[in-house]
Amino acid sequence: MGQYLPVFALGVLAVVFCALSLAASRLLAPRRATRAKNLPYECGIVPGRSAPERFPVRFFLVAMLFIVFDVEIVFLYPWAVAHGSLGLFGLVAILIFSFAVFESFVYLIGKGALEWGPRGDEQPGGAQRRATSAVVRLGPERGEPGMIAEAAENLSGAPSSAATQESSTSAGRP
């Protein structure tokens, strides 16, 4: 246990540091609490609802899946450290074990247990959405994508006087 004594000592030092900072803050900081100050933060308005007591079940699901992988890690580490003396037997055993875990992992992914995102048929940032929301609304020409292409052709084919003017002014700026 001697090897853990320094870790323990450092832990004690850390706790003392925390306690001293909190004590110093108690001595130095003003205490003028009002009811409004003690309300939960809500960007300046009076909170309409209290914090939810329940949250989506997916978070629990992640925690449970983590246990599966944590158990796998618990078995992998001893093998990783002692694989030299375990030899082929150890490798085969760990392959069988990993296959079992991987197979169940594939099954639960296939069941959609780790799906967080938007549904498959409405991917954000997909081609449709990009064409209708970003380009058309921000561009100078509001209308069909075809119109934009047309306008671009016009610009490149016969550079307008405005474009040449701007390039000449920017060149002459310095």
């Binding site: 090897q3 853990y4 320094p6 870790v7 939960p40 983590f66 992988f69 890690i73 990783a80 959609g112």
Partner: protein
């Protein structure tokens, strides 16, 4: 050298010189961490300032180097609020649970010593000892255990505040941290395979003379580890935990004054210790060219800190460059890419090593492994597709059920 490296100073009896060594190491590590955090916060602000074409802190001390100290002193004089709906005991306990593990992780990191031509020991007061605070048999397990314990601090802070932003931030944080903990642990197993020990001293000693795990384990575990560590630290681009635009401040929204400062301290201390762990595991720790024969351990300290600063620079660079991920992208990267990849790579390395011991044809082993990996990848890809479809159908069913319920209920306020 023994199979299980242990700091030789603490093996024999415990006398005055051992006690002196212990005090010097513990106080040294404590002071080093606090000063390093102070400099790290300044370094990050200055560097992000430079990358955004600003000056950054410039008033307190030369080049603003004392800015963090000034901020800390200011926070002592700020009012310490405790929200009315908070859980009194847990709310007070959470900063401790966050900061103490952050301190402890550093105790197993070897910060110096000559590993190129020596065994990494130095002699203090007639005792030979390692340049690390402690070297338990299970150093790496200690690191993993403490980084898991840090989740409790964040989870309890958010839960006990009684605010919706805090709760959402902490639930996100726990899910994110435990997801990437699996990837972190699996990529780390490749290092253990290489070193054959859980002791950090042994891991560093096995990398002596440029046999760094970064290339010995084939780059993939190191990359997975760095990505998982970034997520574990809640650093950008994985900082959904404290996404200011949606969650105000995440789990520490309700914390003010010095309690907030303790969380901030813990966060930056974790960045430093995690960088130190990456240096230890993949970059050879203090290994590097030894330029003088006298006091050769000094060069270990120099190379260790050079590598550490390089990694800290990388983390700041990430922050200045990469935009934040969406939550589903975060979960997809962690579960569907990093975990299978690191597991497959570990099995490949294991097969190669066993094959080498038994005299198999290396090329054949690689071909078989790559084929098996490709098959697993295709299987995973199919599963992801089927999962998307299934969850879509489920959402449809839920939406239908929800509509049915809403129709049955009388509308409010009419």
């Amino acid at each position: 050298m023994s199979v299980f490296a242990l700091d030789p100073a603490y093996i024999g009896g415990f006398g005055l010189s051992e006690a002196l060594i212990l005090i010097i190491k513990v106080v040294g590590a404590f002071g080093l961490l606090l000063v390093a955090v102070m400099l790290m916060i300044w370094f990050e602000r200055k560097l992000v300032g430079d990358m955004q074409n600003r000056i950054g802190p410039a008033r307190a001390g030369p080049w603003g180097i004392l800015q963090t100290l000034a901020d800390g002193v200011k926070l002592f004089f700020k009012e310490d609020l405790r929200p009315a709906k908070s859980d009194r005991l847990v709310y007070r306990l959470a900063p401790y649970m966050s900061l103490v593990p952050a301190f402890l992780v550093f105790s197993v990191v070897p910060v110096g010593g000559n590993f190129t031509s020596g065994d990494g020991t130095v002699t203090w007061f007639g005792n030979s000892t390692f340049l690390q605070v402690a070297d338990p048999h299970v150093g790496i397990l200690l690191v993993l255990a403490l980084s898991s314990a840090a989740v409790y601090g964040i989870m309890l802070a958010g839960w006990s505040s009684g605010s919706k932003y805090s709760l959402l931030g902490s639930v996100r944080a726990s899910a994110q941290m435990i997801s990437y903990e699996a990837a972190l642990g699996l990529s780390l197993a490749a290092v253990l395979l290489q070193a054959g020990s859980l002791s950090t001293h042994e891991i560093v000693a096995a990398q002596g003379g440029w046999n760094w795990n970064l290339w010995v384990t084939g780059l993939v575990p190191a990359l997975v580890f760095v990505i998982a560590a970034t997520a574990e630290l809640n650093r950008p681009p994985f900082d959904l935990v404290e996404a200011e635009q949606e969650l105000v401040g995440g789990f520490h929204t309700e914390y003010s004054s010095i309690r907030f400062a303790l969380f901030f301290l813990a966060e930056f201390m974790n960045v430093i210790t995690m960088s130190a762990i990456i240096v230890t595991l993949f970059l050879g720790g203090p290994d590097g060219p030894v330029l003088t024969e006298r006091a050769s351990w000094i060069w270990g300290v120099v190379w260790f800190f050079v590598k550490l600063v390089a990694l800290l620079f990388m983390f700041v660079w990430f922050r200045a460059t990469l935009p934040r991920l969406r939550y589903d992208q975060l979960m997809d990267v962690g579960w569907k890419f990093l975990i299978p990849l690191s597991l497959g790579w570990l099995l490949l390395l294991g097969a190669l090593r066993v094959g080498r011991d038994r005299g198999w044809n290396t090329a054949a082993v690689v071909v078989v492994c790559v084929a098996a990996g490709a098959a697993a990848g295709v299987l995973l890809r199919l599963a992801v597709r089927s999962g998307r479809r299934e969850s879509g159908e489920l959402a449809d069913a839920e939406a239908d059920a929800g509509e049915a319920v809403n129709v049955g209920e009388p509308e409010k306020g009419s």
